[in-house]
């Protein structure tokens, strides 16, 4: 397949954008760093459609550092589907996928990828890479698409028993082999020094982001969850380049200034909320309703956690392997519970909201255990909103708001607020 097809794919997407786009207002984008983030993601997105780019489709958690060290453009189809949903392009895309036999009971992120590929909206990949973390569906979809595009598929197997002695070397070897093979196939130089430099950038960015997370422990919280939650997409996608360091540094400085001046994300913060899982991408009003109307600030999202330790640039593959293995959502549920427990304490959480994505059995599996084991003993209420991150047909604004109203009433009573 000739890579010039990417021009056609971009034109197809552009046509859909002109015809169907319904732009969401994003009144919670208040920070300069957020604009820098959008601009970086937009730049990478456009480059993925260029004929001379080498593009790797990556599922969440595939180390972007390796790709940047090879001058390869990372393209995250799941993140792109979230972006399409924000402009309501997914109405059409999901319809196409269903017309081709995808069941509405499957994950809409993956259905969205299928529909986008069928209609040639996605840039043709040179490689497709998935990991065994969280989602088996994405690996299966990538594998099947690798046949359609006739491109290599790489699968990084991260073992469930992450703590066993063989685990680090086992994952590190897969990463090294993959990098060598991709370098060879794409005529890129396997330059270990470039990878070491990418690790240094990655460390600098994650250090700033960890500091950002620490600033968010402050009362009142300096940042809206509605603005923060979309950083999760970037966290998975842009480690290993200096632009990411700039963004995280800017974000840190902006929040530091707010904290120093005592400026909160909303006036009169009433409640502090921990957010679990992702968000509905087709509406921006939900967060506004929770944070601005009810003054219940989402002070932290689990997806934004910097769970890994500083990496050693001299041992890049082992370090990246350790980063993958330290993912708290993988392995036994107890590991995740320990993290949630520490978030509840560190961020002085009053209540937890979980947006349970339809079709994702993996993420929803821990909900009741978290509720029973952690929140009940601490008397922290949790609201589980069953919904869909991408498919707006499964979302009823009135029903969701009723649940939020009732949840806020519970929090108000606990704190003795009249309303």
């Amino acid at each position: 397949m000739d890579k010039s097809i990417r021009r056609l794919e971009f034109e197809n997407l552009w046509g859909l954008l002109k015809q169907k786009r319904e732009k969401q207002s994003s009144s919670f984008y208040t920070l300069k760093a957020t604009k820098m983030r959008s601009s970086l993601l937009g730049k990478l997105f456009r480059r993925a459609y260029q004929k001379d780019s080498v593009v790797a489709w990556r599922s969440s958690f595939v180390p972007s550092e390796i790709l940047f060290a090879l001058d390869i453009i990372p393209f995250a189809p799941e993140g792109v589907i979230a972006m399409f949903a924000n402009s309501h392009l997914t109405d059409e895309i999901l319809r196409v996928a269903e017309d081709h036999g995808c069941s509405r009971d499957t994950c809409s992120f993956l259905r969205g990828i299928e529909g986008s590929v069928i209609n040639d909206y996605m840039p043709m990949p040179d490689f497709l890479i998935a990991t065994s973390l969280y989602c088996h569906g994405s690996a299966q979809v990538f594998k099947s698409l690798s046949k359609k595009y006739n491109k290599d598929f790489f699968y990084i197997d991260v073992p469930f028993h992450y703590e066993r002695p063989y685990a680090v070397d086992y994952v590190a070897k897969q990463l090294e082999d993959m990098m060598k093979k991709i370098a060879e196939k794409s005529n890129r130089k396997f330059d270990i020094d470039k990878l070491k430099q990418a690790i240094i950038y990655s460390n600098q960015a994650s250090d700033y982001f960890a500091k950002v997370n620490k600033l968010r422990m402050h009362k009142p919280s300096p940042m809206l969850g509605g603005e923060a939650i979309d950083y999760a997409v970037m966290l998975a996608h842009t480690f290993g380049i200096p632009e990411m360091v700039d963004i995280c540094k800017t974000l840190y400085e902006e929040l530091k200034e707010r904290v120093d001046k005592g400026i909160g994300a909303v006036e009169e913060e009433k409640h502090r909320i921990l957010w679990r899982q992702l968000r509905p991408y087709y509406t921006n009003t939900l967060f506004d309703y929770i944070e601005r109307t009810h003054k219940a600030v989402i002070v932290f999202e689990e997806a934004n956690c910097v769970y890994w330790k500083e990496m050693d640039p001299e041992q890049p593959f082992k370090s990246l392997a350790k980063k993958l293995l330290s993912n708290y959502g993988f392995g036994q549920v107890q590991r995740w519970l320990d993290f949630t427990n520490s978030f509840v304490i560190d961020y002085s959480i009053d209540g937890v909201i979980e947006f349970a994505h339809w079709g994702c059995r993996y993420l929803s599996a821990s909900t009741q255990i978290v509720k029973d084991k952690i929140l009940q003993s601490k008397n922290i209420p949790i609201l589980v909103i069953d919904g869909d991150c991408i498919d707006r047909r499964d979302y009823s604004d009135g029903q969701v708001k009723t649940r939020i109203d009732a949840f806020i009433e519970i929090l108000n009573r606990k704190k003795g607020y009249k309303k």
Binding site: R403, A406, E409, I410
Partner: protein, 262 residues
Amino acid sequence: MIFAGIDIGSVSSETVIIDKNKKILSYDVVRTGSNSKKAAEKSIQAALNKANISFEDITNLIATGYGRKIVPFKSEEISEISCHARGAHFLFPNTRTVIDIGGQDSKAIRLNENGEAVDFNMNDKCAAGTGRFLEEMAKALDTSVEHLGKLSLRSKKSLVISSMCTVFAESEVVSLLAENETREDIAKALHNAIADRVLSLAHKVRLVNAVTLTGGVGKNIGVVDALKSKLPGMTINIPEEPQIVGALGAALIALDSANINA
């Protein structure tokens, strides 16, 4: 001083008027129909007439239910979760779990010893296992929804309705009729299916004794019977008028709120 609560549900709308001693002066239930605002006006007017008072006599009025935002004359709006909890605890102070089966949704609420909601769970878009579901099934069995409960008490054989989708359940009912199963046994199977569905909501909030059943479906003896058999050893309180518990809770909160402000 007079206080009122109005609960605008998807199928029916209720008003309850109480005095400062929490005595119910009157109540009214109307079908909501296609115009919730009109239903609200009609319901409150009927309740005012029954109590022989005028609207100006009301000190505080709280609206609840899915249509609470469109009630024009309310002082405040409160979610139905808080109102059902308040109303059920007032009627039965031993209530620790409320199971509400309304026209188009059902919910389970866990209460603390003060009668305050601490956890809840609601069904989603699907109306299966609610009053609307029973109305459709009664039609399929060629009977009235009022008669469905009594019919099921005469069941002799255990049948299972596996599907909880209203459309599919109806075709299952039709198939069972074609297989010469009796209406009594089918009605029983329908009530069991509703009880299973609502109990799965209730178990997620870790159902605790005693349970109070609210909502119009509480009038259906078949559903009550099914719930009792699935919750052995537990107390299940059934209010005389299960439909008005949400509106009663709203009226009580209206009184509490006036006392706080006083």
